[in-house]
Every structure is written in structure tokens, then in C-alpha cells.
């Protein structure tokens, strides 16, 4: 029996529910009762509704806009067009990528469903009626849909507003539809490696245009208080402070008079990073009318006009020896950015962190170059549950490794093991300049192979192939191996900023006299459970129970400045800020403890939830006692109170990694791919809440399944979106989704205060190539090197047909 009055350190630690505990989420009591507060739940007195009249054309000149019939609809207050915004200089807005985007189409439309007019009405029904009656006359223009033809000499000029501006935000544009060329690495050295190589493989790997499609669409409520001059906007913002700064810059309202609030967010996955015309129009409408204005897009608008992801067409090339040692990597990317460059990447990285494309392998020389082009498609290019183009890079590389394995006649897992960066090479500087913090790839891969009994799977596959050849089955077994290294936690302010704002993050802590606390952060949860996990970090750092710590995010009037939640940056950056702020609290508490215990500062030591006198643990003061003392004792040389703030600028990114193995059965007659098994081993460094990590992995893998097997925002040759609703856009239900097997190793980040690396996006980064490799692998023995995603029934069947398997 333990003495109740004097519990052990371990018992006290367990009570805190700090790091490592699968603490239940504090958010859930509200959400399970329908008591969440999402943007469309907000209702303010006198609130009006905004709705867009959108372009039916992909590329057309606007001949005229007739508002008359629409204005006659009862309840309609106003209709804004570009002409109304021009005097305010708000018809264009800056994008996060250094381009500008039309808020309302200015003289011409550049993609189907582009915003042309903004109707403001007393309710959403009247607004919808008026949208139907806005008469827009168009003169159709030739359309550019295929990015491969965007830079043809005779390609139509899409962006007339910048046609003669050949110096872009990221260097010289060499065609009117060119946005930038960005490169990294040693071109000459790489060319040489290719020329001298024993084996070279090359393949065009396309990652189609997809959409993050959170269940909740984007929206906002803008409310201008004309009396005190303050504009408040509630909205689906993954980066509320950045939105405040952008809003101030473009409206010229002083930043202190703008308050941005992110209420509960129904999933983001990158879709809610950007600034959209709806936000600007709602704000303008509220400024003009003096009453709050709500704008919430519907799912079709969401899929067809707010930020897409990927659309990268990557030509990968690997040089290797006959024994399978990789000697060089080259990749050229044609990036389709749509009508405006609205990618959400750090300023210096117009192609994000694509140069992580050497992945987990020790590749001596590499080069990558990315050409961004304009087309008549919706703008975007956000990181859909990934860190700035890491998913594209990992997909290209992990497919190419399989292509090389096929060429060499080697097992794909063996080829990977042969080329991994070894444990003793960390910290490792890649050929493209990234410094990997920590890793033990061989251990992870071997653990994965052992757990799934990889050898047995390959034997089973050999038997399946023999049976197929003998005509005994029409099903082919595919085994997909993927090993990814992510680069997350952007990032060091020295090289990462968005619109000039350094990508640090922040935490401010106030300890209350009775020993509870509130922590405010510059990030914003969209389901990641920050209110739970950040309290856990603090519980461990300051020794107060997690349940006594409130975590608050998303209100720019109260939270310290931060760059928000995307790119798996919350844990690496804001999590670090939280730990550092906690340590400042502890440092002050140590001085208070020493004073109260009448010893020197250095003679007390920290133990779970208290400072105790070294060598005399019976003499101690708990954090709870110290909190009270901070407010009621006059301590010489110390200010009253117990608060701290930390702005954390990470010294480096973090590099989570993982080994995924997927087994599929492909029905060659129908093209149906059945996931028999999916095993995911993740190493995200220190694990703060295993339950939440596992949940993140399940969700990310399910998105990977969706992307690999069905998601695509496709356009016809006229630039019409094909299938822009959930009837066609593939979101798997519980029936299509398999059971996931998760596993882990723990290799902490050496530079992070608590060693955590971030995990939310890993399963998407690693999952997509694992699925795709499995499908390709099913046909590999027939000589198939690569088939494009999505691996939907038709495409898989077409692959089988081309290989002569459908008889």
C-alpha cells in the first residue's frame, strides 16, 4: 500500500496526465452533444447573408453585368462587382505566394465558378434567388486546361493584368503564362551522375489535382462596429493572425482595430489556410452596410473554387549502380497553379519543400527544378494534409524507387535498405541542402518487415502470380512498400516566412493564484485536439494537472501572435513554445520555492509537481503552493504574479519518418482494388498523446486511400469542372475504409525542447505512395513501371487491358 499522504513521483506524475498519457480530449464533451461553435452556427442581430454569382465559363471576357432583376428580389440589400471594389482598391487581393488574385472578376473570368458578383441579402434564400438573376454576358475566350500546353508560343494570354510584368515574385517569367522557375541542387553534377551511371530510370509521375475537402466548407461572419471602428471577423482560418495582418494591409484598417476569431473548425487539411474572396466581400459588405454579414460556401463551391492541392507533373530520373546503389536524382516538375498563384508556401519556397525529394536515402548528388504555370483552373496549391509539397516529393521518389527496383530486378524493400541514410550519419545534410535532425531508418524498416512477415507476403505473392498465369484466379496481389521522410515544423524565421511574417509560434501562460492556468497559443486546432495535448505538455513542464489548464487559441485579441496550424507545425513550433514558456514559469517558481524553503536557488530541485530541497525531499513546495505564493508573498527581488510568454523560433525543421506496407488484391476484370492489409509504422519523435497520434494516423491514411484510389478534380477541354460534388469526388465511407494497423518507433528530435516532431500529415505523405506502389506492384511482373493515380476502377482495368490481361 502506498502512503496516500506521500504519493510517489510516479503516482503524482500519473495524476498530472502529462506527456505520454492517452488523455481523453477535453473538446469532446461539447462536440458529442452538438454544442460545437462552428462559423455557420454564429448568429448576430441584423446579420445579412452573402452569396456569389459565379462564372459559367473557364475563360471569357465579361461584356456586361446587369444587376437590375437581382436587386428587385425582396430582401436584397446590395450587389457588389469589381467596379464597386475598384474605388476601394479591393478588386484584387495579395495571395500568400506573392501574386494577386481577383476578389471579384475584373473584366474577365479565368476559371469556372470564379466569383463575379457578391449578393448581400437579408437571408440566404433571398441571396440565392438574386444570384440566379444576376445577368452576366460573356464573350468566350480560348481556354488553357493542359499545363503542358500553357507555355506554347501561341497559348492565349491568361493574366492580362500582369502580361507585361515579366519579373514575378520568384524571379523572371519566361512566358506570359509562366509564374516562376525554382531550382535546388547541383545541375551539372547531377547530369554527370546520370551520364556516367550504369543504370538510369526515368518516369513521368503525375500527382493529380485534388482537394482537401474538409467536411465543413469555408466561411466567415464579418462585423464592422462603426461606433468604435473595429472590424471583427469570425471565420474558418487556419492562420488567424496572418489573416489579421493581411486584412489590415489590404483594407488599411489599423491592425489593432481588426479582430480575427477562428471558432471551432470542422477540419482544414490545408483548405483553410488561404484568404478567399468571400472573406473580403463579407468584410466590405459589413463595412458598407454597418451590420454583420455572413458568407458560407456550399460544398460545390468549396470543391471548385477554394484551394485545391497537388497538380504536380514530375519527371523523375534516378542514376544507380548495377548493385542498386543510387548515385544521383533529378526531377523536373511542371506545376499547374491555376489562374492565380495562391499557393500557401513560405516566401522563399515557391515550390514548398519539394527539395526534400531525396527522401530517406543517401543520394550523393541531386537537382530539382519546378516551373509553375497559369491555367484556366481554380487557384490554390495548398498542402493537403502535408507540409508544403512534401507529399508530391515523397510520392515521386517512392514511385521512382520502385521503378528502379523493377529495372534492377531487386526487391523494393531491399533496395530501400541498401540506400537509407544510416543512423550514424545524423545529423545528415542532404544533397539538396536540408539538415535532417535524427532518424534510424533501418530499425523502422526492419520492424515493419518483421511485423507483417514481409518474406511470407512475397512468397504468397509468387504463388498468386503462378495461379494467375495458370488461369486459377483473376485477382492479382500487390505489395506496396513506402518509406518516407517528412520535413515539418516550418520553420526557422531565417528562411521561412509568409508575406514577410516569420514562421515562429507562441505561447503565453498565466498561472492563477489557486494553481490552475490558462495558456494561449498562436495556432488553431481543427480537430487535432490542441486543448488536450498542449495542456499535457504544460502539465509535464509545470507540474499542474492537465485538467486544470485551459488552452485557448484562435482569438487574435487575446492570443499571442503566431502563424497558425498547417504543415504539421503546431507540435514542433507551438508545442516547443509551450514547453519553453512552461520552463520560464518553472524558473520563477524555483526562486519562489527557494525563498519559501529558506535555501539557495540552486539547492532546490524539480520533481514532477514540486520543488524539493536537494537531499531532503520531505521539504518541498508544490507548484500549486508556489502559484499562491506568487500572488500573496512579497518576495524580495521578484515581481508578483506567475506568467510567461515564449516566442519560439525553431533552430531547424523536424524530420518525422515512417515505414508503410500495404497489401492489395486487384480484380483485373473489374479494376476493383481491395485493401487487404495496411501497416503503418511512424516515428514522430516523443509521443505526447498516443491515442491522438493513432487517431491522426488513421485519419491521414484514410485520406491517402481516398487520394490514391479516387480523388481528382478533373476538367474537360472547355475548362468545366467534372464532378465537383460529393456524388463524384471520392470520400470513402466506413465501408470502403480498411482497418489500419499502426506501430511506432521513437527517435526524438535533438533540437526540440521535448523531442516531438509532429505527426498529423505523415500518414498522407507515406500512405499515398504505399497504396500506389501496391497497385503498381500487382502488375509489376508484367513489366508495368508506372500507372497514374487515381487508381480508380476504370484506370486499373485499363492498365490490365493494356497489359493484355483482360482477354
Amino acid at each position: 500500500m502506498n502512503d496516500q499522504a506521500n504519493p510517489s513521483s510516479a503516482e503524482r506524475a500519473a495524476k498530472l496526465q502529462g506527456m505520454g498519457s492517452s488523455r481523453k480530449r477535453v473538446e469532446d464533451a461539447r462536440f458529442t452533444q452538438g454544442k460545437g461553435n462552428y462559423v455557420d452556427d454564429i448568429k448576430l442581430p441584423g446579420m445579412l447573408f452573402g452569396d456569389f454569382a459565379r462564372s459559367s465559363h473557364a475563360h471569357a471576357r465579361i461584356v456586361s453585368i446587369n444587376k437590375e432583376a437581382a436587386l428587385a428580389v425582396p430582401g436584397v440589400i446590395a450587389i457588389l462587382t469589381a467596379e464597386d471594389l475598384k474605388p476601394l482598391n479591393l478588386h484584387y487581393m495579395p495571395t500568400l505566394a506573392g501574386d494577386v488574385q481577383a476578389v471579384l472578376a475584373d473584366e474577365k473570368v479565368l476559371f469556372q465558378n470564379q466569383e463575379v458578383a457578391f449578393v448581400v441579402a437579408e437571408d440566404r434564400y433571398a441571396a440565392a434567388d438574386a444570384v440566379e438573376l444576376v445577368e452576366i454576358e460573356y464573350e468566350a475566350l480560348p481556354v488553357v486546361v493542359d499545363p503542358f500546353t500553357a507555355m506554347d508560343a501561341d497559348a492565349p494570354v491568361l493574366r492580362e493584368d500582369i502580361a507585361d510584368k515579366m519579373e514575378g515574385a520568384h524571379g523572371t517569367r519566361n512566358h506570359h503564362n509562366h509564374i516562376f522557375y525554382w531550382q535546388a541542387g547541383d545541375k551539372e553534377g547531377t547530369d554527370k551522375a546520370m551520364a556516367e551511371a550504369e543504370v538510369v530510370v526515368e518516369e513521368l509521375i503525375s500527382y493529380p489535382r485534388v482537394h482537401p475537402s474538409p467536411l465543413e466548407t469555408c466561411g466567415c461572419v464579418a462585423s464592422m462596429d462603426k461606433v468604435n471602428g473595429k472590424l471583427t471577423i469570425w471565420g474558418t482560418f487556419q492562420a488567424p493572425h496572418a489573416v489579421r495582418t493581411v486584412a489590415s494591409l489590404i483594407t488599411t484598417i489599423p491592425e489593432h482595430n481588426i479582430r480575427i476569431i477562428s471558432p471551432d473548425i470542422g477540419g482544414g487539411f490545408g483548405n483553410k489556410v488561404g484568404v478567399y474572396p468571400g472573406y473580403i466581400c463579407a468584410a466590405v459588405a459589413s463595412i458598407v452596410t454597418g451590420v454583420p454579414v455572413k458568407w458560407v460556401e456550399d460544398k460545390i463551391e468549396n470543391l471548385t473554387s477554394t484551394a485545391f492541392a497537388r497538380d504536380y507533373h514530375m519527371t523523375g530520373k534516378i542514376a544507380a549502380t548495377n548493385e542498386g546503389k543510387i548515385t544521383g536524382l533529378a526531377c523536373h516538375v511542371l506545376a499547374d497553379h491555376g489562374a492565380f498563384d495562391a499557393c500557401a508556401d513560405p516566401t522563399q519556397f515557391p515550390a514548398g519543400f519539394f527539395s526534400i525529394c531525396t527522401g530517406s536515402y543517401d543520394i550523393p548528388v541531386a537537382h530539382c527544378g519546378v516551373d509553375g504555370v497559369y491555367t484556366n483552373k481554380a487557384p490554390g496549391g495548398v498542402a493537403y494534409r502535408c507540409s508544403f509539397r512534401v507529399t508530391e516529393a515523397a510520392y515521386m521518389l517512392e514511385r521512382m524507387i520502385d521503378v528502379l527496383a523493377l529495372k534492377l530486378g531487386m526487391d523494393p524493400a531491399e533496395l530501400r535498405l541498401k540506400n537509407f541514410i544510416t543512423k550514424d550519419q545524423f545529423p545528415y545534410t542532404s544533397a539538396l541542402g536540408w539538415e535532417y535532425d535524427s532518424g534510424d531508418y533501418h530499425t523502422a524498416m526492419e520492424q515493419a518487415m518483421k511485423t507483417v512477415d514481409y518474406e511470407k507476403l512475397r512468397k504468397e505473392q509468387a504463388a498468386n502470380r503462378a495461379a494467375f498465369t495458370a488461369g486459377e484466379t483473376r485477382s492479382l496481389m500487390g505489395i506496396g512498400v513506402a518509406f518516407f521522410t517528412e520535413i515539418v515544423g516550418a520553420g526557422p524565421v531565417k528562411n521561412c516566412d509568409i508575406l514577410g511574417l516569420g514562421m515562429f509560434d507562441s505561447c503565453e501562460i498565466r498561472i492563477h493564484p489557486t494553481g490552475s492556468a490558462i495558456a494561449r497559443l498562436g495556432t488553431i486546432s481543427q480537430g487535432q485536439g490542441h486543448a488536450t495535448t498542449f495542456a499535457q505538455i504544460l502539465a509535464t513542464e509545470i507540474g499542474l494537472p492537465a485538467e486544470d489548464i485551459t488552452v485557448e487559441e484562435g482569438d487574435t485579441d487575446t492570443a499571442p501572435y503566431g502563424l497558425g496550424t498547417y504543415g504539421s507545425r503546431s507540435t514542433p513550433v507551438a508545442g516547443a513554445a509551450t514547453a519553453m514558456a512552461g520552463r520560464k514559469i518553472r524558473a520563477k517558481a524555483q526562486m519562489i520555492a527557494a525563498y519559501l524553503l529558506e535555501v539557495h536557488d540552486d539547492d532546490v530541485e524539480w520533481d514532477v509537481d514540486r520543488f524539493q530541497v536537494k537531499g531532503n525531499p520531505e521539504k518541498f513546495k508544490t507548484m500549486k503552493e508556489l502559484a499562491f505564493a506568487a500572488y500573496n508573498q512579497a518576495i524580495p527581488g521578484l515581481e508578483p504574479g506567475l506568467e510567461a510568454v515564449s516566442y519560439y523560433d525553431p533552430p531547424n525543421m523536424t524530420y518525422p519518418y515512417g515505414a508503410y506496407i500495404c497489401v492489395v488484391d486487384v480484380d483485373v476484370d473489374t479494376g476493383v482494388v481491395d485493401t487487404r492489409r495496411f501497416y503503418a509504422l511512424d516515428d514522430c519523435g516523443t509521443r505526447i498523446n498516443p491515442m491522438i497520434i493513432e487517431g491522426q494516423v488513421h485519419g491521414g491514411l484514410t485520406e491517402a486511400l481516398a487520394i490514391a484510389m479516387g480523388q481528382e478534380i478533373a476538367y474537360d477541354e472547355m475548362g468545366n469542372v467534372k464532378g465537383g460534388s460529393l456524388m463524384d469526388y471520392y470520400i470513402p465511407t466506413a465501408v470502403e475504409t480498411p482497418e489500419w494497423e499502426t506501430d511506432f518507433t521513437v527517435t526524438p528530435s535533438p533540437h526540440h525542447p521535448i523531442g516531438a516532431k509532429g505527426v498529423g500529415e505523415s500518414p498522407n505523405v507515406g500512405g499515398v505512395p504505399a497504396f500506389s506502389n501496391a497497385v503498381n506492384n500487382a502488375f509489376a511482373h508484367f513489366g508495368l513501371t508506372h500507372t497514374q493515380m487515381p487508381h480508380d476502377h476504370w484506370r486499373v482495368w485499363k492498365t490490365a487491358e493494356k497489359l493484355g490481361l483482360t482477354g
Binding site: R124, Y125, A128, D129, E132, D298, I300, D669, T670, G671, V672, G710, A714, K722, G723, M727, D728, Y730, I731, P732, T733, V735, E736, D792, H793, W794, W797, K798, T806
Partner: protein, 287 residues
């Protein structure tokens, strides 16, 4: 997504409903479960000025089984088809096929009448009705007339239903006891329409196929009753060669459109595969 305005009517008898349709003219639409019509209205692809809601007409509900004669009221939901033990005992294919339509919530609202009367080639029940050789009961200002499911469909959203008429029930004879049946549907996910689907109902005696009926979903402008394919099965020993021949005959009458599920040639191919699999499953189930 907000529908346009309309006036709402909820009659409590067929007569009243027909009277309303007669007086309101061609701007009136009947609504049953609404899961085809309401999405169209929200997209403003349908803008009726009047909606006549049939939910209070109790005579349109329910499954009546009288000996071998089965009558299903138009307002019977897909969920009710699935839940009916009586129906499962004499004609299980309907419940099994209904379970492949949409999802649980939609099946609670969606009715057989809406599914068969709408003329959407993506709907599943019309092919089943054709395979079962059902007759639709249509009531209008001129009284009642019966139209065979195999004659009912003219083109996408165009049927033999005249303006002012209401489809009140589908009637058919239960296939003989011991019959084999299957509805094989390939779809991208739960909630999707078929890439292609095939309904097969057959009877087998002494390894010889006595009766057979095959019909196809979503591979043409209308559901397709595959008479030639059915004929190939009848009297055959249902060997692999015959099944392939039937599938080929079924494929020959398809004319699918290209859509997100794939191009026409793929969907025709899948129709053939679904026919083969449905025949094989039906043979297994036949006693």
C-alpha cells in the same frame, strides 16, 4: 444550395392528388421521398411551382402479397423493402438490391415509386422491375392504366407516365419457389450510382435453365431489358460458354455515356462482367 419557391400541397387521397395535378398543370411535380427531386431543386435544375407531396396517401404504402401476386405501393421506402420478411421469403432480390441503393438514411426516405417513375437511368429498381416483368399501375384523370416496366422507359427522364398521372404501384408475380436471383452492382463507393449493374432472375431444373430474365442498370438512356441475353440462357445448361454468350448479348445492347465512372467501353465491359457474375450467383442460389 437553395431551391426556388413553390407552393406545397399534401393531398390525402389519390383522387385529390390527381385533381391537384389536373388543376395545377405542368408546373406541378409529385414528390415522394424527394431524394432525386430535392437535390435537383437545390441545384435549380428543377424549378416546379407546385409540389404535391404524396406522404399522407396511405393507400400508396406497403407490400401486399397475395399468393404469387406481389404489389408494392409507390410510397414504400427502400428501407421497408429491405425489412420485409414476407418479401424476402418470396422474392428476396428486391430487398438485396435495395440494400445496394444509396445509404441507410437515403433508403429511409427513398421510395420504390420515386425510383421507378423518375426515369433516371442511374436508378436501380427499374432494371429489377424489368427482370421481374412488373407492371406499373398509373392513375390519372382518365382513370387507371397498366404499363409493363419493359415498355415504360423511353429516354433519360422520359417515361410512359403522362402529365397528370401518378404511378401508384408496381405489381408482379413472384418468381417460382427455388428460383435463382442476383443483382450485381459495381459502384465506386457507398452512395454511388452503378458503373454498371445487372439483375438476373432464373429457374433451373435438372441443370437446364427453364426461365431467365436479365436487365441492366445505368448503361444506357434507360434501364435495359436484355431479351436476347435472357433467351440465350433459356433451355441452356448454363455452362461457361453460354454465360459468356449471354453477357456478350447483353453488352451489345448497352450504350452508356462517359462519366466519372469511366468511358463508355469500360462501362459496357463492366456490364458484361456484372451479367456473368449475376448469372453465376443466381445459379448458386437456385434450388
Amino acid at each position: 444550395m437553395i431551391p426556388g419557391s413553390f407552393d406545397y400541397h399534401r393531398p390525402d387521397s389519390i383522387e385529390a392528388a390527381i385533381g391537384l395535378l389536373a388543376s395545377l398543370g405542368d408546373e406541378a411535380r409529385v414528390v415522394a421521398g424527394g431524394h432525386s427531386l430535392i437535390p435537383m431543386m437545390k441545384l435549380r435544375m428543377a424549378t416546379p411551382e407546385h409540389l404535391v407531396d404524396l406522404q399522407d396517401i396511405t393507400s400508396l404504402r406497403g407490400i401486399t402479397i397475395n399468393g404469387a401476386e406481389i404489389s408494392i405501393g409507390a410510397m414504400t421506402t427502400q428501407a421497408e423493402l429491405i425489412a420485409s420478411d414476407q418479401l424476402a421469403a418470396v422474392c428476396p432480390i428486391l430487398g438485396l438490391a435495395a440494400a445496394q441503393i444509396a445509404d441507410p438514411q437515403v433508403r429511409n426516405m427513398g421510395t420504390i415509386g420515386g425510383n421507378i417513375a423518375n426515369g433516371d437511368p442511374g436508378n436501380d429498381m427499374p432494371a429489377l422491375m424489368q427482370a421481374l416483368d412488373a407492371v406499373y399501375i398509373l392513375q390519372g384523370p382518365e382513370g387507371r392504366r397498366d404499363v409493363a416496366a419493359r415498355d415504360f422507359y423511353e429516354a433519360a427522364y422520359f417515361t410512359a407516365l403522362e402529365e397528370g398521372e401518378i404511378l401508384t404501384a408496381a405489381r408482379f408475380s413472384a418468381p417460382p419457389s427455388g428460383h435463382g436471383h442476383a443483382y450485381e452492382k459495381q459502384k465506386r463507393k457507398i452512395g454511388d450510382y452503378a458503373t454498371a449493374a445487372a439483375a438476373v432472375v432464373l429457374t433451373v431444373e435438372n441443370n437446364s435453365c427453364q426461365t431467365a430474365a436479365i436487365a441492366l442498370t445505368n448503361v444506357g438512356d434507360t434501364p435495359l431489358y436484355a431479351e436476347e441475353a435472357s433467351q440465350i440462357l433459356r433451355g441452356s445448361n448454363l455452362d461457361k460458354k453460354t454465360i459468356t454468350a449471354a453477357a456478350n448479348a447483353a453488352k451489345a445492347i448497352t450504350d452508356p455515356a462517359e462519366d466519372g465512372r469511366g468511358p463508355a467501353n469500360f462501362r459496357t465491359h463492366i456490364a458484361g462482367i456484372m451479367v456473368m457474375r449475376a448469372i453465376e450467383k443466381a445459379i448458386e442460389r437456385a434450388k
